[in-house]
Symmetry: D2
Subunit: 275 residues, 4 copies
């Protein structure tokens, strides 16, 4: 049985489905449309149970999942959503111990997820040019308790990345095709490259640039998530859905040895045409 700790973040869900993410602090009081709850009634008490507001409305108190954290992140920019992040994790082969570069940091949603999954032993190197974004992202990472797994750098990535031989690198920037040289230098041979862009024009520009460099196994895809109203006797998709966030592009960086045969020059010969 897990007990809620002071300073821990917990998820409260009211009987009408409203969700609240709050940090427990001794002596504080949480106010909702369904009455108040004293933090002291939660601290050092079991998680995963029902509690009641002073108006006797039931709430459940839960440890937030990484999905909950991502959905409640403080945002100063369009964030990468869990539906894309799940795919990114598998495609970039993120797991405990990996060293990963991302740029730009933005509000830190992907940063949070990457840091969560490289634990323990891994590290996320996150680059962002804008100080205001970086400030929010730092706060989000600190709130998630993931400081030890992220190294932030404020920089225009035209100047390159400091790390070498990283396992994976993800670009969430407006013109990712401008930074493929920098990405290639940072990635280990065989390293995983990913990018997210919102427009088809950007996809085309990135594809063209990737094919001029030693990137192979190039794939483009998008993820659509369709939610249903969870009512047994009237099951149906929700009326509205997110129609678009972005296109995901994945590739692997390889080395084309200088001593190789003529075919080597034709990097594009190795491009994968997805069947």
């Amino acid at each position: 049985m897990k007990l809620a700790q002071e300073n821990q973040r917990v998820l409260l869900i009211s009987s009408d489905g409203k969700r609240f993410l709050l940090r427990l602090r001794a002596g504080e009081r949480f106010h909702t449309h369904k009455g108040t709850i004293d933090h002291d009634d939660l601290i050092d008490k079991p998680l995963g149970r029902q509690v009641f507001s002073h108006l006797q409305h039931p709430f459940v108190v839960l440890e937030p999942s990484i999905h909950d954290l991502l959905m409640h992140l403080r945002r100063v920019s369009q964030i990468i959503y869990p539906k894309e992040i799940g795919q990114i994790l598998l495609r970039l082969d993120i797991c405990s111990g990996k060293r990963v570069i991302e740029a730009g940091t933005g509000s830190g949603a992907l940063t949070t997820a990457l840091a969560y999954f490289v634990r323990p032993g891994g590290m996320v190197y996150s680059y962002e040019a804008r100080e205001d974004m970086l400030r929010v992202a730092r706060k989000n990472i600190r709130n998630a308790g993931l400081d030890d797994y992220v190294k932030f750098t404020q920089r225009d990535i035209r100047q390159g990345f400091d790390e070498r031989e990283v396992d994976a690198l993800f670009l969430d920037v407006r013109e990712p095709w401008l930074y493929l040289e920098q990405a290639s230098q940072a990635l280990a041979d065989g390293g995983f490259f990913g990018a997210l862009v919102p427009t088809t024009n950007q996809v085309s520009a990135l594809l063209a640039a990737l094919k001029e460099r030693p990137f192979v196994a190039i794939e483009v895809l998008e993820i659509l998530l369709r939610k249903y109203k969870p009512v047994a006797e009237r099951l149906r998709p929700q009326d509205q859905m997110v129609g678009h966030t972005g296109f995901l592009i994945f590739a692997r960086k390889v080395s084309l040895e200088p001593s190789a045969s003529p075919a080597v020059g034709e990097a594009s010969a190795c491009q994968e045409e997805t069947p």
Copy 2:
């Protein structure tokens, strides 16, 4: 620079995009439509580079990602696909150190992914009634080098699970609604529950059963993945796509204290109606 090891599995991609997953064994020879490659020319050599068949066709040799492993799994049943697995990981809050139950094992696709992401320190408890399935799954897990992170049990789960206080539990069985009592006993308070079913009738049956028990934050969704032909100057979605694999249902198991006020009895009062 990573070197390919004997007995390691590597991914070979030919210049026309064909993918081959093979285990390196000294003295063996790999035959393709584009010529042969001696395993000895790969063993103890760098990964992430170009190699040539005896016909001088270029291949790239890569360390497979978890995504590659999942897509090349030996199958004796419909597997859970990466598009769902990415979402499952985030929803069930899988990460290093977690203890997770799944049933049924099937071919072991989700087993593989769960084991991959609970490393180090975690454990997957995988239950399957059919011995033939279990045999294939064991082999797939061994091939992936994940034996230390999976404990298989051959059992009809009507008899319950052996573990208690697990962090998450996933059901990929025909009638998941029959096993909610068993699932509740195994899950810690606040634990993550998930299930995948192919038909809407099963979704309705599971929703009805979940609402009779202390499960909250119930959500139903499906994931659609749309692939594009990765050609810069002729960008377009692929002609065919997977139209359906299954519906995902997620919930959290909570404790409704026996000593509570009348409202406690109404477990359904805590059900979340996703807006």
Copy 3:
């Protein structure tokens, strides 16, 4: 060159893309966020051209399409959308001269489209139990100038339809499975049956009922429409889309002759299992 007539409805589109559907009346003045336009400046003037408000903002004045009419319909209920209507027209084989029953009328969106396409020579028989709905639908049909092609009846369709041997029949009611006997009596042998329902439970109930009666070629489908921002250099799907309106069910009513061989009794033997 077409001239706008008094009493005609025209579509005005402002330079910032706002759309206005108005009926031209001599002496009236149209007020917008971009200035006013005198109806007299439009009446007896060419359609399909640019006009200017008194503030010199450009508008285009157009004859509305059936799609425009449907999107600007006065609504007192959830309407059937053009994305479904296009499919319904082709599936029910609607065209000039056809006799079609629909129930319930609702706001009259499908009524409008059916009437539009059975011209000339055809007729739509529209049934609705609620008087308030019927009043709005009548007005919408009159506004569209389609009075001659629709016969409205206020009735609970449990009492059956007045027409016989109709070419097609569409049910947009909560429990369409209750009225299959009535539908069968009204439809010609080989006639087209269609229905729209929002939940999967309703689809299942209707399918079960259809299979107990002489309906064949049963199909279930849904239509998703994805809009793009029409910007050449930043092409992308819109952020939000309609995730669900309803499921469409189509079938053909056939006669199973009384004098036939034993196999005839098995109406279900003729059901089509879509591969």
Copy 4:
């Protein structure tokens, strides 16, 4: 009660859901996997009923819908599918009496649908450069009994269209942006323009060209059709679906009067940015 006529085309559906479109000819015999049926047993007999093969397998004999005709069209090229055609009909405001141009004809799928819906009183002017395509399309139109409603012309449309003041014009050609001048000359002011292209690059090129000419109300969209297995107790989407056929672009051609105020010169000022 409708009787099948000699020379009429009928749809036969076997008890296992196989569909056959055949033309009835006295004395002929139809062979299937479920036995043979004499055409003479169908001619002058009622439609919409069950018939039996010589092996006593039940079939239903039906009048084909326009949807059936389109799905059984003889094809020498990628055709425009009913899911798009339904939308095109509503967007181009096709109905009895309309005059419509299309190019290229291809196999004649859209031609067939347009001809079907402009009856009576309307006309489709169909242009195609390739003689082999035209031959197939002519045959398809003749088979559908729609000769009186289509005028075919073999021509490279760079040379323009012969008609003027047409109500609507649809381009299903590789580079539709090259023919906007020709399209503008043929279309009435306010006329409906549509096009279908498979790649995003083509969409961008067409959008850029449309914005340089007096086209307004520009929209880009795509239609996804999801089929379900029509089984009441195991309802689910089909495993595979069509992931892409093409993007639809719609616009209205307007006149920008020469004598107008300075704002008139800015044709783009009238472009609609879909919100």
